[in-house]
Symmetry: D2
């Protein structure tokens, strides 16, 4: 595994846990964790349960004892590492976003295709039990023809204007703001559940245009007070929203923001079709709401399905606890990695592949272009 | 109509509104409103829409131009007025509780039976659309055999120890506290939806045993401060709860309290049967939750039915507004009075009759006896 | 009152009820109800509680015994009647939308200004208790600077492709589809709660492009079966959504649809500001959700305010029932008309005036233009 | 660890995970897992991550390399193993219920006291983040004096009369039904959050008195059909409820059932005090509802606290994921074991100790005695 911070913690947990809960087609060994900072990666090795630590990612990739490379580094190094790993014949799991732009993503797709290696981009929310259930229901035709896909990803961690100018708020480092970070997730869920986008029209906004530099914010400047704090320019979007159409005729409305007080990690989806509707809220991620027009008159209503029952052949929940005993955020990674391990064992990629990562990036760029040109953009 | 305060306001509204929304089998005329206080009743006549006002209830009862007597007076005069009205051959609608005790209720039932007059006790919550819908569903067998009836009526208006000793907190005037006032409602709903009680075991409690006298609280005593305020003894229950059994084998758990901060008029019911479950919350009175075990595996869940659709032949909601346009508290009285008017026109009582009022009182007294003797009491 | 169908029923109820629940500065007399169909209006007179019926609206407007004209006719006659009423010196209450287009609205505004008559457009949702409360809270600064206004008005009554081509689906008669009918409401609430729009970019869509003609659908065509039913073209939008900006810098996302199964009359709003957030759902219209960033760490969360308490000086709820006893859809009209009666008595218009009706129409037209030209449109 | 089934799986996970997420005062080694069935325990060793497997619990207890004994065996062996472990000087963690009856529990308490070993009974629900938060709030006085504790634990897994007579439905093996299994949990939460019980009065009920023997149900009897299946008597309670009082004057209402269709693992609590109220639902275990009477008039309402923020110094949530990223059932065991490990390292027991297990059993037995004698029972 390359990278050991937030996603490193979540992925390591998944690698450790998958064998204890899922029937895997191969044994798993947490061989090496890799990061730039020697001291940091050594501490992570111990904390996260890896056998070895390394500061040399190329050595790791070329280590013949290693079959799988899991990339959790900052976004700007995904492409280089993934392409090298593919060339080395390793199976590659890459955190989202796949690359920094469409061009990078295309190269990555090309590399894994050429090398014929198993590849996956980690859009872990596809494997939330309620989302997996929604997918099954849509495929079974319970919603009929889809009319609307409406999604929002809302957080509130930078509402305070004194929150410092961290790297995620600097375009040079992060690529984009809410758009690439969280809109990407609901774009992926839209593609997974509804289909491919055909055109989009968007708006991006930065509410707070200047923030204290991190250093100044952290240490104070010794000069007495706010007035003298050094400020820097926020170069990414605080909110990004767009309307659009899918190729199958459905209408899209997506919104991402970090300026919705009280919404911590609030992903809300609603899908309306000719036979029924689905609604989902990530803060209550074990639940799925379902309205069926086939129910008898007088007793129709959104069903509040607690997706903790193996009944109906659910792919994940039966491996955990009895009905009514909920699971959490980290389990979505365990599901992802369990499926990936089996894919590697069988030599056949499972969704979402690098191809999905590329298509996601195409939508992201189309929205950005639309926001800039104030025009509709076709895909 | 005899009595013109809170219930007088609600009943007058219902008499005025019923003809505008329901197809009635007789024309309605708001002939006379009657109360002890001449000035007060005259003001009420004007405000509430009556033609005449009177301070002489016996004259009203004997007025040949009047066919219906609607009793909204304090509880201790229900029996006298209702019996006189029955003897005068009038149809009688009486606010709950029917009488002060079982003996009075028996006399009232006897009087209306002897006089063969149409009679009804106003348990208006039976005609909440969601409750009417629940009744239909239970009768249609959607719940199967009933196992549990669980109900709670919670309010919070006397949590403050400085709230004065109003008449409702004095047993001599009110008869009882939460028990007769609000437990009575969920007992009635239990009888309506599940069946007759067979035995009960209860507990009644007074959390705040002394309160400032109303006069002292209102005017101050001129002697400077709380220390010198005159206090009086609270002689009724602040909370009353009981467990019990129904004759059909179902288990009961009922609780009434005025000490649940944040619960304003919170009636929550849950009924569990062999085929499904129902849940209801009066503060969201247009909704009914329904779990059906007949739903397919994987998509089971409580349905959130917004009971505003005439579909499935609902007896009331189609007379108001389109689906999704909710109604409120007062409408339960309109439904009650519309049904009562038609009953009078047809000369045939509809539920809940005085007989229901009597049975309700029997349960109330059994719980009180149980709380006093610390024994189970059979019905 | 001119017009006696759905809105006629709701307005008549409000005229009847206001004097019984609100302290009015003038007495109210339901003088004359007016409609084109002599027989229909006579039946309505009786059912809705009016003294006289008329089929001649000009006579009504010129009747010196009448002070107020309440217009509930189809949209295409609003302007003519309102302008005539203003010229006759009457106070005018007009159902929304004010006119068919900006030009008509401007003439109407001009007419009431010239005549100096009290005027109001009936955007009754402003007087939902929870919305009135939201307005107070925003004005008191509890939300701080507003970042987001997100609103959706969803219904589901025409999802069935066999639902006939009623007049509301024909542009010639109705003017527009969901956009003018229901988007208009959430545009008005946005203007009321957040401020004036500065630019918009929208999309309108018709999912089902042909429907059976009403006659054919109703009567059958005697030729055997669906295949031979006569179909007509749907000329209005089934869904209309737009993104935009307010003049104060807030971001807007509005969506209206009649194709969301399970959503009956589902108006959901969320407003996020620098100090807190508000959320509202019309199907639970007595509730308002409020998140305050001023709450202490660890106990922050959206408050579920049941807006039934007169505490905090609420303008409406104290006139109805005790806390926890909810009210419904029709009460919003009672509040509107009570305020209008007092405005007439005092000779001073209250919001929303014809001016508000005009501004609403300007936004509607801007969105329509945007959807047509696929461009952003400034206001 | 002795025992390796459902609780063995949950505890093993917690032993594995605690070191990766919590700063522990001692290193942890999963030394030996022990069970009667040699083959089964060997498979469990591998699956659950233990170094050694053993079928001889006495050898394990006396192994000097082992410091901690974690007991997850069937209830009838808890006492023997725990007492032996204490005598061997080991720290002991024992699954609930502590013993089969008060006498056993007393002996266990006596053994750990005499041996002065660190001891804990695994009432893991105390360490649900929302419950830990509730405890802090109550201790900080945010609820004031407590009036009501109302709790329900509802499941639905044996509603089907064809569900076989598993060991949990046989008193000889299980000790009791819903009462010891799930009422025990809400009794413990009542003791933890409110205080000690002073008297109780209960009712226990068996809805389905006969069930197919497990063998018959599983294999069929080869004789054709239900009629000839062998049935056995259900000897435990399907539902157990009781009312009661706490020593501090609060009123209790507790109910446990396995006959509430749609309720999977539904623990609902409500606590009402003189200053506020708390409500909790285990199926949404990351949320805590809080009503504060200190909030300003007009904006009071139950707050929906998503307990995922380290703010306010929460003892557990900061060790997992960022705000809004929820956790699940198994994490309650991780918290329990992390605290237990630190307790062992420091040589000082943390709540809930064996003493708590004894007191829980005293309440359970009092309710059983009450249900049998139909009398109130004092504690």
């Amino acid at each position: 595994m390359i990278g050991y911070r937030f996603m490193g913690k979540a992925h390591s947990n998944a690698w450790r846990q998958a064998p204890h809960f899922f029937p895997l087609k191969a044994a798993v060994k947490l061989h090496t964790i890799c990061g730039r900072d020697v001291k940091g990666v050594e501490a992570a090795r111990d904390q996260l349960g890896w056998e070895n630590a390394s500061a040399d990612w190329e050595a790791v990739i070329n280590n013949p004892a290693i079959d799988i490379i899991d990339i959790n580094t900052p976004n700007d190094s995904h492409a280089e590492i993934a392409i090298a790993a593919a060339r080395a014949g390793k199976a590659v799991l890459c955190e989202k976003p796949l690359g920094l732009n469409v061009k990078q993503c295309e190269e990555m797709v090309s590399a894994v295709k050429k090398a014929r290696v198993v590849n996956m981009v980690c859009h872990n929310y596809r494997r939330i039990p309620a989302i997996a259930q929604a997918k099954k229901m849509i495929e079974a035709g319970l919603l009929g023809e889809i009319f609307h896909y409406r999604a929002r990803y809302a957080q509130d961690w930078i509402v305070d204007p004194n929150f410092p100018l961290v790297w995620r708020l600097q375009k040079g480092v992060s690529g984009s703001g809410t758009h690439g970070d969280i809109n990407a997730h609901i774009i992926d869920l839209g593609r997974y559940l509804v289909g491919e986008f055909s055109e989009v029209c968007g708006l991006m906004n930065t509410f707070i245009k200047e923030r204290p530099l991190e250093e100044a914010a952290g240490k104070g400047d010794g000069l007495g007070g706010k007035g003298s704090r050094k400020m820097g320019k926020v170069t990414v979007d605080d909110a990004a929203l767009f309307i659009g159409r899918f190729k199958n005729g459905a209408i899209a409305n997506l919104e991402a923001t970090r300026f919705a007080l009280g919404r911590k990690n609030h992903i809300t989806l609603e899908i309306n079709g000719s036979k029924g509707s689905l609604a989902f809220d990530f803060e209550d991620m074990n639940r799925l709401k379902f309205f069926s027009n086939d129910d008898a008159a007088g007793i129709q209503g959104f069903r509040d399905i607690l997706v903790t029952e193996p009944g109906g052949k659910h792919p994940y929940v039966g491996n955990w606890w009895p009905p009514g005993h909920i699971i959490g955020y980290e389990h979505t990674f365990v599901h992802t990695i369990a499926d990936f391990i089996n894919a590697v064992a069988e030599g056949k990629s499972v969704q979402p592949t690098f191809e999905d990562g590329l298509r996601n990036e195409q939508v992201l760029e189309a929205v950005e272009a639309s926001a800039k040109t104030r025009q509709w953009v076709k895909l």
